[in-house]
Amino acid sequence: MKQKSVVSRRTFLKGAAATVATVSFGGTFFDFIFSGLSPAVAAENSTVELFRNACPRNCYDTCAILSTVQDGVLKKVVGDPASTYTRGTLCAKGFSYTRSVYSPDRIKYPMRQIGRGSGNWQRISWDEAYTEIAQNMLRLKREYGSTLPICLNKYSGNFDIMHYGIEGMLTSIGNTTRATGTPCWPAGIDAQTFDFGTIVCNDPEDIVNSKYLIIWGANPAWCSVHSMYFVKEAQQRGCKVVVIDPILTQTASKADLYIQIKSSTDGALALGMARYILDHNLYDGEWLAKNSKGAEEFFSYLKNNITLEWAAEKTGIPQHIIEMLAREYATTKPANIWIGYGMQRHTNGGQNVRAIDALAAITGNIGKSGGGAQYAQLETWGFKYHAMSQSKPANSGGKEDRAININNFGAEVLNAQDPPIKMLWIACRGPMTQDPETAVVKKAFEGMDLVVTADLYMTPTVEMSDIVLPVTTAFETPGVNVSYWHYWLSLNEQAIKPMYESKNDVTIAMELSAKLNELEQGSCTFPTSGDLQEWVGKEFSEGIYKQFGIQDWQELKKGPVKAKSGLIAWQDGKFRTPSGKYELWSAEAEKYGHFPLPVYVEEMQSTDKYPLRCITPHWKLSIHSQFQNLDWMAAVNNEPHIEIHPKVAAKYHIKDNDSVKMFNDIGYITLPAKITETVSPDVVAVYETWYKNKKFNVNYTVKAIPADMGKKATGAPGIAFHDNFVAIQKM
């Protein structure tokens, strides 16, 4: 349209002048009043400051970051050399943070969608947002006699301790419904809770002391980049690194020995090895007698039910390899096993983890530097959770919070009765991209009176929301972070001002509380004001100060600190099980409907109709729906792909890069093929992530099949993400 027809000045202004006179502007012609601008304060010379930040993502490494800020603008981020775990480095995602903070796609203002899913948005002020939310909450309380119709779905988008204030916000309005459990690691937690009493792992920097390391169903080269340095260091010091994984992952490519086990049969391999160890008297009877309960029952189970031939047939691994593995593991001391989260996302995931734990127990490899059965640790999470622990208002109705299973969210929201669920609050979460059975989740969203989502970008979840609240990135708000793997504690300072009208989740809680109390005094107990730094300070407990050897949290401004004790799991031999011992036989497991012993439970099998197992691991350039939408990541890779074995590809006449349709009875996706020998003929791999302008979501094909365990420690069973059976065809 840019036609350059230049209307001559005279004619144009003559036309305009005629009308100007009729409408006056009030006051003199030049009554200029500032609205967005203001006189510049003394032009101070350019200042460059360094701030301590921490990456709050759902990742083993939780890196300590040093941000460079010039005149209030974040210029670059580097790893904080003070941490001996991340050693001054980040990962590809961490290095792209400037592109996230200043992305043009960031949501800038609170907005209201007129017609959920219509794409018609209206900008509203924070006050208008709070008013509508508060009125809705109070209406629901009146209508249903409690705030239970309000449901929170919050999980791993931001693991900064302050963000537990979101749970606190919901508690402070009364009993509410909570999407409980975790899609990530629940079966493994329950398994280790039955075996050890809870999950504790060695300090990952201790891996260098292992002489034999089995990485079982984990891919640290993609999901815990900094651990790989210590794995490599261990290798250089003579440690044999074995990787057991259905997929020849990036980690497997670095292994001394890679075993391509049939997916979901890990328990059979572990029990086969245990049987060999038993038969050849390679077990540590002394350790078992002193520290374990149920060894005899376990050994008799092995003798009567487990044979090496069966294990070989079950796992697809030649018997002599199982024997070699068992012998090497049992005789090389100390021997370490790292149990991955992918490995337990099966219908028999929990039992498989217990079988692997049992290997570590019978060989006495527990409580030792360089040994153990590493899964995760929450030992460094002993905060006060001040922001989370709020009291419920007296008249809020309902007996207690209601839990629904986060891993079957859509169906459970739809089926919730007396009272039904009428309002959703989504924060640090993306159900529309991360949950199974996306169609059911969408149906649940459609049935709501009000959906509020706090997010940074226009995700599919925000598209299905009524109100979107812009939130701050880690660089715009104070916080504190710990990891579920390493033992470091990092402060997160506010490096820059919050962009646009974005707010921290705790600020949102405070201001919503103010509005609720304005509309109905006493309807919300959340404090209505407070400096965010002070909130951070209040999270620190005596235990944390003792554990990390600091007197005051401000010391963390000088850099991250490492826990001073408890770096080797179970070194004191005091197991937190009912018996105080390692329980091969767990009455607690029986109580939750599982076998008391780590017996083998049959894995889910493919069907003729859907012969291929689709494994959906994490993608290396994203954490779930985060990072892959940034422009730097898109420049490295901007295309999902399905990894197919050459034999399978040949059968379907698929060549490299051909477009392939992968489908089962609940959904389908289409994406380019990558022909590779790194998957086995019975498996295809599709990495789960979210590309901002592609209709790709592998979860269209994933059913909400529960994993076997998870209820005890996390409140709900996990999801058997990798028991997803599909068929493929060339497009």
Binding site: T89, G94, L248, S680
Partner: protein, 186 residues
């Protein structure tokens, strides 16, 4: 003889995580399509068995750089320590160096209408710091070496790397070692 420096790319340590590539972009905050350092996937079967292997490559700061020879405005100069520098002021955007370089290193910046490439963080190294990619690599898979030193296992090429005889690059490689693999290909 002056110390000649070059990159040592240890593909045995490299896990293809692209941190080096993004550390470089983070240091210089470039446009997305400008990638001074790229992590190339190597063919699966190049080292026996099948494995996900990578080589992280930026400018190879060659002994006799084709870019320097081809450039009509003498925008390229090779420093005493071997770093091949590109002068933004002199470049007229004729892209002749992009044709001449066997490793596709020089890139055309649409905004400045000039070519640019990795300068091995010359300014950082002059300040005694290591290049951003070297510091940013979690596996310490990229290091700066004296090209004249003999380093165990260091080779001048990798399968798929264009013939080193053309421009005599200073980059040295360490081949990845693929362990024993028990695979189910039946």
């Amino acid at each position: 003889m002056a110390k000649k420096i070059g990159f040592l790319v240890n593909s045995d340590r490299c896990i293809g995580c692209h941190a080096c590539e993004l550390a470089c972009k983070n240091e210089y905050q470039q446009e997305p399509e400008i990638r001074w350092r790229k992590v190339y996937p190597l063919k699966e079967d190049s080292f026996g068995g099948f494995a996900r292997e990578f080589a992280s490559l930026a400018c190879n700061h060659c002994e006799d750089p084709a870019c320097l020879k081809a450039c009509p405005v003498i925008a390229y100069t090779k420093r005493e320590d071997g770093i091949v520098m590109h002068s933004k002021e002199r470049c007229i955007g004729c892209k002749n160096c992009m044709l001449a370089c066997p490793y596709k290193v020089p890139e055309f910046n649409q905004k400045t209408k000039k070519v640019e490439k990795c300068h091995m963080c010359a300014a950082r190294q002059d300040r005694g710091e290591k290049p951003a990619c070297v510091v940013g690599c979690p596996m310490e898979a990229i290091t700066i070496i004296n090209v004249n030193d003999t380093i165990a296992g260091a080779e001048r090429s990798l399968p798929g790397f264009p013939n080193a005889a053309i421009t005599n690059p200073t980059t040295r490689f360490i081949k990845p070692v693929v362990g024993r693999q028990v695979r189910r290909d039946a």
